[in-house]
Assembly symmetry: D2
Homo-oligomer: 254 residues x 4
């Protein structure tokens, strides 16, 4: 039986599976979705237990990666876990990887990547909008992954400082303007990934990628179809997210 | 410029993007897909370069996770990278995680999981068929991930020895028979994932899961749609894998 | 240049593409979505023209099949045009066909079927709920297809009066209870179609169908993916209807 | 009990559901898929019965629309029934409709359309390749729908002779070159449909369509997912047709 300690980050999950991350050292305050609470009251509670707070019920758990992603504050459309997962595996990201992403958005992909490259990898995140970096970095700190992430106020289409990178992920409207920099900054065998919602972006980008010594160029979209299971039978959910973005991958040779 | 060394594992990629993993310390032999070759000839080559071997051309690279998955020898239908990726992120697997999987199959999921939990995590893999363990473990060794994997000749429906696991992944025909063991062996907040091709399996399994203190129970299928991009335009590929398996996730409270 | 005449059925389409069917012989009244209007004012207007009515703009057209479907008043979930289209072609319905459907729902499928079997075919529609028949028949009358449709207050699972039918379409929760009646009432080569939202319904139904001399048994789902096209590029719509129903078809031999 | 007569068109369906259309007045010959046979032997047989012929078994039935489509000889990629069905319903095609299509391809769509517009409608089919018209018209004759179809050796991008058409369907590589002609030749409320495999075609075409008084402009793709149902459960088929073409619809006002 593991209990919550002082100065520990926890996640509260309500019965609609909304998630709120707190640290037990935080002061009494009004926490969005939770209400006015003194986080110290959770100290000594058993992880996995559920309890009442105001008129709601919450489970208390140690925050998992999914908790961190699902509780982060969104400023822009985020790269969803289903796509982040494909980026991670198709770029062969693993503990120790050195990865550049641009732009940072709300930091959702950053959190996923940082979780995977611990303990000794590095995420470098470019964005040319200071307010996005500030907002995202707060999310990354809440997720306790800030030691693995370096942000840069920089436009990736103007150049990349780093060399010998394991992967570069571009979530910008004009990835084709950064492809030549990406090629130079990747190690042999390193992966480029571009996330683009529109057909024309994919097309223009793939044309640019083909000018360099990239192999294994592929584009796909990843569709998640939720299944509703009840005692009467199962069926796909009526509500479905029809599209997020196309994912294009390419791998540098030399 | 990084060069291939002696006693180093490399991947050869041909022009159809088929992949072959070799170690430069191996002896002259006939290697499937490559032909008769003395692996020592690669020592001193530049990573990322392409060269002729017989009547084929090969790139030489350091094996990435995708190379390891794509080159492994299949004995049974494997869990594909698109699904492995969803398992990893939805089970919040990360460096240091302790994960049990059953059965081992050809070791494809094992390789993905082991790559992600390095350097100090552990994959425990149960299978009640010795020949599958032997076959899979060879694949895991080729992928140089064997130090992170422990195999057990054991039927997971008869019990799980380990406790306080971060995640348990069941790829067996009757996952419902292992749910009660899984519940006991997961830590609070730990994830259960079941991979099942058929509707009836999902239904029976979700019914069993609901008997325990699991939250965040969800089922989905993940569909990857390859996009063909040419200078004339883009379109989804005519050939498509229509189905692999349904993924059911659940999270233990206490 | 064709003009609207007296005693003619027209469709008004607003700028959000909502559709309202009226007859120019109807009296001044408040028409839902249109406002208070004397339908006679449309007489003499040119078909295809747009005009102001209150603070909205409407195009006036002769009602097409899609207008009839899209303007009908829904009481229950309807079979959508995408699925109606598959039913029509996979049951080989054509002018002159004699088709039985059960239940009638809001009459949406009935309208599609009746349009296709004109001028000398027949739709027989069973429902055991009088209020559904009444509601649906009003929709069918508005669509000016009532001369092609015969309704029966009858439970299709208790028997089918008609013989030698070209097709039978079952949109009821328990189609398996009507399969034996359907088999008897179909002509050789006639088609049975069952529409079911749930996996368990499909399974139970296909098991029942296999007991009879049916061939070409197949089940599929039909997914429509709307594409958003703008000058910047195209992409699948973010909003998507994830599921309607599974369609099972079978064909009687003798 | 209905029996096959002399000079009657029948379909033979083998146990793999391959279909062969014959007329009982044809002479003894080698018929592809059937073998050497005198079609007169079927006269007097009961419709719906199965019998041996050589080492195969065949059911004999009156040809349905699906039989006609599935047995036609393909010269080029055809518009599949799933898409033909969407064209029919979204263009509100019905008995009596006057429809132009270009090009004719193998006549598969022509057969579907002609079946639906009987007994007093008309399909006009343009193609600028004489050999395609010849090939397609043979298929249309076999389907006994030739009295409803008029073919023209003509490039639809150079103009359309007909006026006041209910629908125009363009299955050509450059539909945008025919849009202005289509607009002129449609009746108010008439439908334009363009079938295009590639994103760039859709984009260019929609831009052209927007220049004219078309409303209800929409593009979608229609995906059919076959479901495999067995006593063990059901699942989507592993093999799936990933893409056919995008369908764009628009409706003329005036």
């Amino acid at each position: 039986m593991v209990k919550v300690k002082d100065n520990e980050t926890i996640v509260l999950i309500d019965e609609k599976e909304r998630k709120y991350i707190l640290n037990t050292s935080q002061k009494t305050d009004k926490y969005k979705g939770v209400g006015v609470v003194d986080p110290k009251i959770f100290v000594g509670r058993e992880y996995g237990s559920q309890f009442d707070l105001g008129n709601k019920k919450f489970w208390v758990l140690k925050p998992s990666l999914m908790d961190k992603i699902q509780s982060l504050k969104r400023r822009a459309q985020i790269i969803l876990p289903k796509d982040a997962a494909q980026i991670i595996i198709n770029c062969s990201i693993k503990p120790g990887s050195k990865v550049l992403e641009a732009g940072i958005g709300s930091g959702a992909l950053t959190v996923s990547l940082a979780s995977m490259i611990a303990p000794n990898g590095k995420i470098i995140s470019y964005d040319n909008r200071e307010e996005f970096i500030d907002h995202a970095f707060k999310n990354i700190k809440t997720a306790e992954l800030d030691s693995l992430v370096e942000t840069k106020l920089k436009d990736v289409t103007e150049g990349i400082d780093e060399k010998n990178l394991d992967a570069i992920i571009l979530d910008i409207p004009n990835p084709w303007d950064a492809v030549k920099h990406a090629f130079k900054s990747l190690k042999p065998g390193g992966y480029l990934c571009c996330y683009s919602p529109l057909s024309t972006q994919v097309q223009k980008n793939v044309e640019e990628i083909k000018k360099y010594n990239f192999i294994e160029i592929k584009t796909f979209e990843n569709i998640q179809r939720e299944i509703v299971v009840s005692e009467n039978g199962m069926r796909p959910s009526f509500n479905m997210l029809g599209h997020t973005g196309y994912l294009t991958f390419a791998r540098k040779t030399k």
